[in-house]
């Protein structure tokens, strides 16, 4: 009898609770907390979830409406990522951030047809920066091609302005993700006169001896890495083993987390990577997080990732989603926004210094604005360097602009090819 009453009460509570839940602003989190890529997926997912918790706890939600994060485990597996999309889109999803180039590629046509925006922040299909073709896809604040160009610019700077005749090797994850920078690096090689060696590493990258023996034989002047997961740790260790100078080994922003360098110990000292945001916890937002999230026991996961590179990046992704939602609410004058309104908000998003300061993130990232034609943002990046003694990253350059002269024609060319293939008529942007 008691059980029946309890069941009735639970059913009633659920029935009344459901409409309220439907009114939330839903942000699916396609995360990966298990499998070989979990060490990278966990900090990002924690940062993403904690930022939304902060907004709910401190501000009462976004424009007064609570945000609801719907996690779905992908294991960084494209098939599972698509399943997650299908399983969560019916919950009123406003935006997808897949954290996987493979998943992003699969979701671009689906989400475009369903009218749900995708934000592949610094990953995914680079030419999606062309908003005229990719109406529903955004990759601000920068793309892989920006990253490749900025790394080459940094190398030019290190070499005193001339890298003709130099040798650069690209060690890359043999996947859609890892292959993204090749075209840009090839074009930049033509422009600057360096030679490029391509060294693919198969998933997961646990064994790379042949790759690094080749590097030892060919002795490139710089090694650029496009890795993820265990591939990063093994590559850094192998570079240490063959005594490759670490300050000439530069990773993309997905190859520059603490987990990538810690296993190699002191040997990893000096390793560099590009970043799209500031490092560490020296931002006022962490005081708010402590008060409203950590001290209340509301931290996502184990609560042991605060301040790490990928935690900050997850937080950045959530912050950009929240700011776009606020913009959408302002444009449409309604707190409860739809996915289509969210897209409008993303396309009108402006990140200014004043806004960053108000959010407790002064100088955390470069300012940028998204437009109808430009979904890629400013494309700025800085170089961070690892200090193995203090086990910290620090920025060693200012935020650097990419080479638009090379990148813009590539984006135009690739997006035009996609438009022809997908039978899309590019829209007009005023």
């Amino acid at each position: 009898m008691k059980f029946s009453r309890l069941a009735f009460a639970a059913a009633t509570a659920l029935a009344f609770a459901t409409p309220a839940a439907m009114a939330d602003l839903v942000f699916p989190s396609l995360d990966y907390r298990t499998g070989p890529y979990a060490p990278n997926g966990i900090p990002f997912a924690d940062g993403y979830a904690d930022y939304f918790t902060l907004v709910n706890e401190r501000d009462g939600g976004i424009g007064g409406v609570k945000a609801r994060v719907v996690p779905c485990e992908t294991e960084y597996n494209t098939t599972k990522g698509v399943e997650c999309y299908e399983a969560t889109k019916g919950e009123g999803a406003l935006l997808y951030q897949p954290l996987s180039t493979g998943i992003t590629y699969q979701l671009i046509p689906k989400a475009s047809a369903d009218g749900i925006p995708i934000h592949s922040m610094g990953y995914g299909r680079t030419s999606a920066a062309n908003g005229k073709v990719f109406e529903w896809v955004f990759n601000y604040p920068g793309t892989y091609w920006d990253a490749a160009s900025i790394i080459v610019k940094h190398i030019i700077d290190q070499e005193g302005g001339d890298i003709s005749g130099k040798k650069i090797a690209l060690v890359y994850h043999n996947s859609a993700y890892g292959k993204e920078p090749i075209r840009t690096l090839e074009e930049l090689a033509k422009k600057h006169g360096y030679s490029l060696t391509l060294l693919p590493v198969d998933h997961p990258g646990q064994e790379q001896k042949a790759t690094w023996l080749q590097i030892r034989r060919d002795r490139p002047d710089y090694v650029v890495m496009w890795g993820w997961g265990v591939m990063n740790q093994v590559a850094v260790q192998e570079a240490v083993n063959i005594r490759f100078p670490m300050d000439k080994f530069i990773g993309v922003w997905w190859s520059g987390a603490e987990t990538d360098v810690l296993p190699a110990g002191e040997g990893a000292h000096g390793y560099k990577a590009i970043t799209m945001h500031g490092v560490g916890m020296d931002f006022p937002i962490y005081a708010d997080l402590k008060t409203h999230v950590y001290d209340k026991g509301l931290s996502a996961g184990a609560g042991d990732q605060h301040g790490s590179v990928l935690y900050n990046r997850g937080m950045q992704a959530a912050m950009l989603a929240v700011e776009a939602a606020k913009t959408a609410q302002a444009i449409h004058g309604a707190p409860n926004i739809t996915a289509a309104m969210m897209r409008d908000g993303m396309e009108a998003l402006e990140i200014t210094d004043e806004k960053l300061t108000a959010l407790g993130l002064p100088d955390f990232m470069p300012t940028f604005e998204v437009t109808c034609a430009n979904h890629g943002g400013s494309g700025l990046g800085a170089i961070q360097q690892w200090d193995a003694k203090t086990k910290t990253w620090s920025l060693v350059t200012d935020f650097i602009a990419s080479d638009r002269e090379v990148i813009d024609p590539l984006i135009a060319e690739d997006s035009a090819a996609y438009a022809a293939e997908a039978n899309i008529t590019p829209r007009t942007c005023e």
């Binding site: 298990t34 060490p39 042949a210 023996l213």
Partner: protein, 322 residues
């Protein structure tokens, strides 16, 4: 001619040493398959679990800390100090022996006399359960493993030959030799070893002379657990202890196909052939066909062996009479 190229010999030596690392994983498979006819799909996860446990003891991590924190509302993640490496290794060994006992009692005993494929499926399930348990117990972070093994290039060898040889891989080769010698001595010169061989030869006959199948299985799974710990230490020292370690089992499969599923020397020789083959192929043929051949080359070689010598180089030829 590439044979006169010093770089070729550097690749061969590196390949041989990398092959030893594969053999360490393959050995665990062979031991269990030889004694019980079970292909233990969970052997890679055993290596991962053993390495996670070792690092957990070394660093003084509280097992199931996140779960305990969630239940009790506390936030205790470490004991304050860790164990010395040798003590941690001993405790990790005990955990692996305990795990072997649990596997035999919970998974294998209820499945006695079932088809091999059912036992194989059970080990797939075991792999998932153990991976999840490892995650709950020790967390999914990458953990640096330092058991005092030398790492980095050997200056002595570089000075003498100009060749790059990783000291960690030299250690792995020495450990593999010691392991094979110890396993051979155990199986040839101890009563338990003879019982083990009897079970491997004929289960029914062994049972009829009073050998306890369950005890033998426990011993074999314990030894495989110890081998997994050794493999976990070597691979964990190389790349940090992380969940991709479970995928090293995929490297052991072609080694087993080459060497044979029932031969300990076969696991070693198979590993050496795969190690050298994949490195030489990647460096000399890889650039012509787009590279990244290391993973599939091993399987291609194994496939060729399956066509012409399905039992592998040292495996027993299975003759089934109808």
């Amino acid at each position: 001619m590439f044979l006169t190229d010093p770089f070729f010999w550097e690749i061969v030596v590196s390949g041989l040493l990398a092959g030893v690392m594969y053999s360490l994983v393959a050995l665990g498979f062979v031991l269990i398959f030889k004694a019980s006819g079970i292909f233990n799909f969970a052997q890679g996860v055993f290596a991962l679990f053993a390495a996670l446990t070792l690092v957990g003891f070394q660093t003084g991590q509280v097992p199931f800390a996140h779960l305990l924190s969630w239940i009790t509302g506390t936030s205790i993640h470490t004991w304050g100090s860790g164990m010395p490496t040798l003590v941690a290794i001993v405790f990790a060994l005990l955990v692996m022996i305990g795990l072997a006992w649990l596997v035999v009692r919970i998974v294998l005993r209820p499945l006695v006399n079932q088809e091999g494929i059912i036992l194989f499926m059970a080990t797939i399930g075991l792999a998932f359960v153990l991976e999840g348990t490892g995650d709950l117990m020790w967390g999914a972070n990458v953990k640096a493993l330092d058991v005092g093994l030398p790492q980095g290039p050997s200056d002595t060898i570089i000075d003498a030959t100009g060749m790059f040889v990783d000291k960690l891989e030299i250690s792995a080769a020495v450990v593999a030799v010691l392991l094979v010698v110890a396993l051979t001595l155990f199986s040839q010169f101890t009563r338990m070893g003879r019982a083990l061989r009897a079970v491997a030869d004929d289960h029914q006959a062994a049972l009829s002379v009073g050998i306890s199948l369950e005890t033998i299985w426990w011993i074999v799974w314990s030894i495989a657990g110890i081998v997994a710990l050794v493999a976990g230490i070597m691979w964990g020292a190389k790349s940090g202890v992380q969940f991709s370690l479970s995928l090293i089992a995929l490297k052991a499969l072609p080694v087993l196909m080459l060497g044979g599923f029932t031969s300990i020397p076969g696991a070693i020789v198979g590993g050496l052939i795969i190690g050298v083959g994949e490195k030489v192929f990647e460096l000399y043929v890889g650039p012509m066909i787009g590279g990244a051949t290391e993973n599939w080359f091993a399987y291609m070689l194994a496939l060729l062996f399956l066509l012409f010598r399905p039992q592998g180089l040292f495996g027993e030829k299975i003759i089934e009479r109808v």
